[in-house]
């Protein structure tokens, strides 16, 4: 038994010659909220469809709960709740009737429906036809549907797509409460970095079908270690001077960057000024998560 609820091995999906998902090794720990992050078209939904057995991988393996999905599809899916891309529903049926079709197929008692309706706060409108629901209500119904049968693993593909800010907030709070309240492990995909930042404990970043980062949210933040930015004139000479004195500066445009550990700003300032360079700016900069994300996805694209 591995410690991972989801583990993929070199998972690949080709559409014709196009690799939508390219050799990814996903690792989702029990009890985590795994943020599966990537721009539109990166391969998130395709990966998720493979995790649910909706599409066959071209190559590679999917293990859920330590067992191969291929040979254990039904017992595995009993423990998984999911919502893929847009919520599916039968528009002419009420919210209750929609959930009832899933409940029957899962062999659950009728009272389970009221339980999940309560969780997503749709009890009041449970007898209304779903086609009259707002996008946010449909999305919540989709989550209620995924929660039926107390799944151990919840897979939600862009659950906040098409919602207004308050709807996004609400769904985020709901998802965040699940691991604590119900012991559920969650994999949630998004193309919005800030959303994952506010929600996830672990992150996988996918771009152009490749998994370019995987680790805890903290590790991702640490990639944005502080650095010292110096604007000194003339820039080439100043950098050369620093190199001669044992530093390792990097030049980007008119700015020289140094890692914080190398020397304090005061030391650097003195060193440059004493040697006749004009220091116009000296600052300690910290990369934002946005910068890291862009950097990581760019690396992945050229790799």
């Amino acid at each position: 038994m591995s410690d991972y609820l989801i583990e993929t091995n070199q998972l690949t999906k080709k559409f014709g010659n196009f690799k939508a998902v390219d050799s990814i090794d996903l690792k989702v720990k029990k009890g985590s909220i795994y943020g599966f992050l990537g721009p539109n078209g990166a391969g998130k939904s395709t990966t998720i469809r493979m995790l649910l057995g909706l599409i066959q991988p071209t190559s590679g393996r999917v293990n859920l709960f330590g067992k191969p999905l291929k040979s254990n599809r039904i017992p595995i899916l009993k423990r998984v709740g999911s919502m893929v891309e847009y919520p599916s529903y039968y528009g002419h049926l009420t919210a209750y009737e929609n959930l009832n079709t899933t409940r029957i197929l899962l062999g659950l008692e009728a009272k389970e429906i009221d339980k999940v309706l309560e969780i997503v706060r749709l009890t009041e409108v449970k007898n209304k036809a779903v086609k009259k629901f707002s996008m946010g209500m449909k999305q919540r119904l989709g989550i209620a549907n995924a929660l039926l049968g107390n799944p151990e693993l919840l897979i939600l593909d862009e659950p906040t797509n098409g919602l207004d800010p308050s709807g996004i907030h609400e769904i985020r709070d709901l998802i965040k409460s699940l691991p604590k309240k119900m012991g559920i492990t969650v994999l949630v995909s998004s193309h919005i970095l800030s959303e994952i930042d506010l929600l996830a404990t672990d992150v996988g970043i996918i771009t152009k079908g490749k998994l370019v980062f995987q680790g805890s949210l903290e590790e991702l933040h640490q990639r944005g270690k502080s650095q010292i930015a110096i604007e000194a004139n003339p820039v080439e000479d100043a950098a050369a001077h620093l190199i001669n004195n044992g530093f390792q500066p990097e030049i980007e445009g008119e700015t020289i960057y140094l890692q914080v550990g190398e020397a304090g700003p005061a030391v650097l300032n003195k060193e440059l000024v004493m040697n006749g360079f004009a220091v116009n700016k000296l600052a300690v900069e910290r990369k934002t998560l946005e910068d890291i994300f862009l950097e990581v996805t760019k690396e992945g694209a050229t790799a």
């Binding site: 469809r49 649910l52 909706l54 066959q56 599809r73 893929v84 049926l93 899933t102």
Partner: protein, 250 residues
């Protein structure tokens, strides 16, 4: 157990659906047409024909329904419409992906849809025949109603559509746009009529043709409906299950 649950949910999904209207309108239409036919032609013309041919009014009425009205040729198209409606509920809001992410065997999901098509088609067939009984009674046929003849008509129609039901269960599961499979059935029906006239020995290879043999009148052999429907039904159903199980749900 899963199968019964699937059938239950498939049935629930048709709540308030167009399929019920369809099942009402088509038999109403055929009944009205046959009533008009008897009203206008029975006493002056058709009854004389019955006497000349040494048959009964009930046999004649069935023949009018099957050949003159064209029920035997059209029935496969109606089955295709039913199949399209049964599958459409899963396409409308992309429900296939959530249905097939549930712990249910894909093969059972597919077979459940097939049974739904059979159920609604049987209803349609029975309502059409019930309409004939009503027309015969209203027209005051002198001969007694021959239950056996009419019930075997129903039975052979049911067997005769098995191939089309299986074919359209699969076709309807392939197209998001429900119009395509119905158009295919319509073209199939026309092609079948042409083949029947031009190459009568070949028409028995077309699943759309079998319901036509269900009447038990003239030279039509209902065994074609029986064997054709059963063989085509089983072969196409098995093929469909195999394909559906492997299919990528995108």
């Amino acid at each position: 157990m899963t199968m019964i649950n699937l059938l239950r949910t498939d049935f629930m999904k048709q709540k308030g659906g167009f399929i019920w209207l369809f099942l009402l309108i088509i038999p109403l239409g055929t009944t009205a047409a046959m009533f008009l036919d008897m009203y206008l032609r029975y006493e002056d013309y058709l009854y004389q024909k019955v006497q000349q041919q040494g048959t009964t009014s009930w046999h004649l009425l069935l023949g009018e329904n099957h050949f003159v009205l064209g029920w035997g040729a059209f029935l496969p198209v109606f089955v295709a419409v039913i199949a399209a409606l049964v599958h459409h509920v899963e396409f409308k809001q992309q429900s296939w992906k959530s249905l097939l992410s549930l712990p249910v065997p894909r093969g059972s999901v597919f077979i459940s849809k097939f049974f739904m098509i059979l159920l609604f088609s049987s209803l349609l067939i029975m309502l059409n025949t019930l309409g004939l009984v009503l027309v015969g009674k209203l027209s005051g046929f002198p001969e007694g109603f021959t239950f056996e003849f009419y019930s075997s008509y129903v039975l052979y129609q049911f067997l005769g559509i098995l191939g089309v039901a299986a074919l359209h269960n699969w076709l309807s599961s392939c197209f998001k746009n429900a119009v395509y499979p119905v158009v295919i059935a319509f073209v199939g029906m026309i092609a079948t009529s042409i083949v029947r006239l031009s190459f009568p020995e070949k028409v028995k290879f077309i699943p759309y043709s079998y319901a036509y043999y269900a009447d038990g009148l003239k030279e039509n052999d209902p065994m074609v409906a029986l064997y054709g429907g059963l063989i085509a039904g089983i072969l196409i159903l098995v093929f469909g299950i195999i394909e559906f199980k492997k299919r990528d749900i995108v």
